[in-house]
């Protein structure tokens, strides 16, 4: 009797679990999975609505990967994404460590640093153009002060392949995000272990690398994962602030989609699938590497 009751309850619990999972599952499989399948199929030559159907046809990937400019675009894409992620990480961790200490006007500062989180990327890009461009505020002020004759002589910051503008916008927007994540982790673990280590004679360096860093590592991994995934697929900043040809891969894909020639859309889809592949491989190995590290130090 009690066994059947238990079984019934168990069944109810399971049903309830499925109901909880269902909405997200539906969105993931139907919208995301469906789009992914369609995208891969299209990149392999399946587009009857443009009068093209040569499925399966690897020539679009062949043409793309056989072109040296694809690899230069990939290099630029990875360079902007990794540089911005690393700079944001360092600045964000420093900011979070500062925020757990107390200093004058801390409560005001705690609101202030979050400001870029609420401002869209496009506005950040516009700010970069207005401030750093060759017709921007800085160049005009310099010309006004007489350092240069003409705003156009101001050193080129935006629209170069060094990507200072792109990286600046990403860092401006992502440092607070990293800081917020790490700060939450730091508040969770408290400062007792650090103090204990300090009492036991560890210097500041040892405290950070042997006590604090392992504690905030999960926060570091999750926040860098998120911002790197964004950076590698982002379009607006490299489009507006980038140095032109060769462009980053998302911009290359956009150019294919935007061409008056419809058949180029398949080439564009192959580019998009390539971005997804590269991002997927990098993010997966990053996570796998971290899991192995965690198992080694005995965390599960």
């Amino acid at each position: 009797m009690s066994k059947t009751k238990e079984l019934a309850r168990h069944k109810r619990d399971r049903t309830w679990m499925w109901i909880q999972l269902l909405p997200v599952m539906l969105v993931l499989t139907v919208l995301f999975g469906g789009a992914l399948v369609l995208g891969v199929a299209q990149s392999l030559g399946f587009a009857p609505w443009f009068g093209v159907n040569t499925f399966p046809d690897f020539s679009y990937f062949g043409a793309l990967w056989g072109d040296s400019f694809f690899w230069r675009s990939l290099g630029l894409t990875l360079y902007y994404a990794i540089a911005a992620t690393l700079i944001s990480l360092v600045m964000g961790v420093l900011l979070a460590l500062a925020l757990v200490r107390s200093f004058p006007s801390k409560s005001l500062y705690k609101y202030l640093y979050k400001l870029p989180l609420m401002i869209p990327y496009t506005v950040g890009i516009a700010l970069a153009v207005i401030m750093l461009g060759n017709g921007g505020m800085l160049s005009r002020l310099m010309a006004f002060a007489g350092f240069i004759d003409d705003p156009s002589q101001f050193p080129q910051i935006l629209k170069t392949h060094m990507g200072w503008g792109i990286i600046a916008v990403y860092v401006w927007k992502q440092t607070p995000f990293v800081a917020l994540t790490i700060y939450a982790v730091l508040l969770g673990v408290g400062r007792e272990t650090e103090e204990a280590a300090a009492i036991l004679g560890a210097n500041k360096r040892q405290v950070f690398f042997q006590v604090t860093l392992p504690q905030i590592l999960p926060g570091i991994i999750s926040s860098t994962l998120i911002i790197f995934a964004f950076n590698i697929g982002a379009f607006e900043a490299p489009f507006i602030l980038g140095g032109g040809f060769p462009d980053t891969l998302p911009v290359v894909a956009w150019r294919y989609f935007n061409d008056a020639d419809y058949t180029l859309q398949l080439q564009g889809m192959a580019t998009v699938v390539s971005i997804a592949l590269v991002a997927g491989v990098i993010l997966y190995s990053y996570l796998a590497f971290y899991r192995r590290y965690e198992r080694r130090i005995g965390r599960h």
Binding site: F69, G135, P151, S152, H161, G243, G244, F245, N258, D261
Partner: protein
């Protein structure tokens, strides 16, 4: 009882939907055959009640004109004009083709009219996505020259060499002109040929650039350079034929010197000294470079761009237009096309008729600086004088000088190939010969 009523009304509304679509087809066929009077069109337009015009919304002046003049004028006809501002004309073309692909025909789509020309119109024609020959049957079509015997009718009958078959009506005429700030450049230094431009850039490196193809403003600059370097010295003439007539090899021979020139000047363009010449993405970006003094000359479509810029205070006082390149200043028209699945075909025609009126052409010229698309010799003296009076005026050049240096546009089938060649030969610095690049581009298009 209630249920029956409900299902009846649902069936009823479904049936009117089907009936309406069939009725729209009949209306189109009747109008094109000349069986439907203009009064009937107006009555039907009032019933339809609204019209969705998709157009490039990047110019404040055009948007202001649209809201302050076109919308009220059509309201008097009982039609609500919805101006849908898009960033690229291709977006509207995509929408039309996608909806046609999903089986939505006349009366069922969402785009009533598109401001269009060149490759986008050629795409619509190729896909059979235009409603049909309406343009020469509107009351205001008398303002245009339709007689093919008259050479002046060319721009009304062909759009980048593609026959329009009256499925689009001219809206505005444009010419490619360059602007200079005379406060920065002495008038003796202003170039009027491509050779003089190179000499100027050798003395002042980095002070010029052009919009990046495949944007049509960039394509037009490339076409002008190709015309001017035509090895036969026949300028634009051979580029009026289609790709099939000309053949890939002949095209490669004709464009090679122009492409060579563009490659040679690349290190002298903006940013070229660092090995990476900068080509702005669109005319707004080009204008920004010009107004900041980063470049000395800005070339784009806009006969009255300098005059309206001076009036609005966006251009520096020394800004002037100049003749460049001599004899090869490309002139074309742009049009309003009604797609095959326009939801409100009658209202679209009433709108097109208004856009072709002298009244709308004159206010548009005055407010937005858009040159008229109507042909002045078809107008009464009074109307022609009205257009003259509305013109914001030319700055630094005369109409006679412009007329003397006019060249026609390139056939739309060649534009794709020339554009692909530029991307390969100039942007990607391909080491292949121009003839093999052209051959590949032609093969890819088919």
């Amino acid at each position: 009882m209630r249920k029956t009523m409900l299902s009846l009304s649902v069936i009823g509304s479904l049936m009117t939907g089907v009936a309406f679509a069939q009725d729209a087809d009949a209306f189109r066929d009747g109008f094109i055959a000349g069986d439907i009077s203009w009064e009937e069109v107006q009555a039907r337009a009032m019933e339809e009640g609204e019209v969705n015009l998709y157009y490039w919304g990047g110019s404040d002046q055009i948007n202001i004109w649209m809201d302050r003049f076109a919308v009220p004028a059509l309201a008097e006809e009982g039609v609500t004009l919805n101006p849908v501002r898009i960033t690229g004309t291709k977006d509207a073309v995509d929408l039309v083709l996608a909806e046609l692909g999903s089986g939505r025909g006349l009366g069922e789509g969402s785009v009533d009219a598109i401001w269009v020309n060149g490759e986008n119109f050629a795409t619509l024609m190729r896909q059979g996505a235009v409603m049909g020959a309406f343009a020469d049957k509107l009351p205001n079509s008398v303002n245009f020259e339709w007689n093919p015997e008259d050479p002046r009718s060319l721009l009304n009958l062909r759009d980048f060499g593609v026959e329009t078959n009256a499925s689009e009506i001219p809206w505005s005429g444009q010419q490619y002109v360059c602007a200079v700030n005379t406060d920065r450049v002495a008038s003796d230094d202003v170039p009027s040929t491509f050779a003089e431009m190179r000499a100027y850039l050798e003395a002042n490196p980095g002070k010029f650039t052009y919009v990046k193809p495949p944007h049509f403003i960039g394509n037009t600059f490339v076409q002008a350079a190709v015309y001017a370097h035509n090895p036969d010295g026949t300028g634009a003439e051979p580029f009026q034929s289609s790709l099939d007539e000309l053949g890939a090899e002949e095209l490669a021979r004709l464009i090679a010197p122009g492409m060579e020139y563009l490659r040679e000047i690349e290190p002298l363009l903006l940013g070229g000294d660092s090995g990476n010449a900068r080509y702005p993405e669109d005319p707004n970006a080009l204008n920004g470079l010009f107004l900041n003094g980063e470049i000395d000359f800005s070339c784009q479509f806009g006969l009255y761009g300098v005059a309206t810029g001076l009036r609005d205070g966006t251009y520096p006082e020394g800004a002037e237009q100049f003749i460049f390149p001599e004899g090869n200043m490309i002139k074309n028209k742009n049009y309003l096309v009604i797609p095959a699945n326009a939801p409100n075909p009658a209202a679209a025609m009433v709108m097109a008729n208004y856009m072709a009126s002298v009244d709308s052409q004159a206010t548009k010229l005055e407010i937005a600086g858009m040159p008229p698309g109507v042909d002045p010799w078809r107008l009464s003296d009074e109307d022609a004088a009205r257009l003259d009076a509305a013109s914001p005026g030319l700055v630094g050049v005369t109409q006679a000088e412009l007329d003397a240096n006019t060249a026609p546009d390139t056939n739309a089938t060649l534009v794709d190939v020339i554009e692909a060649t530029w991307l390969e030969y100039i942007e990607r610095d391909s080491e292949e010969s121009i003839s093999s690049i052209v051959a590949t581009a032609v093969a890819n298009l088919n």
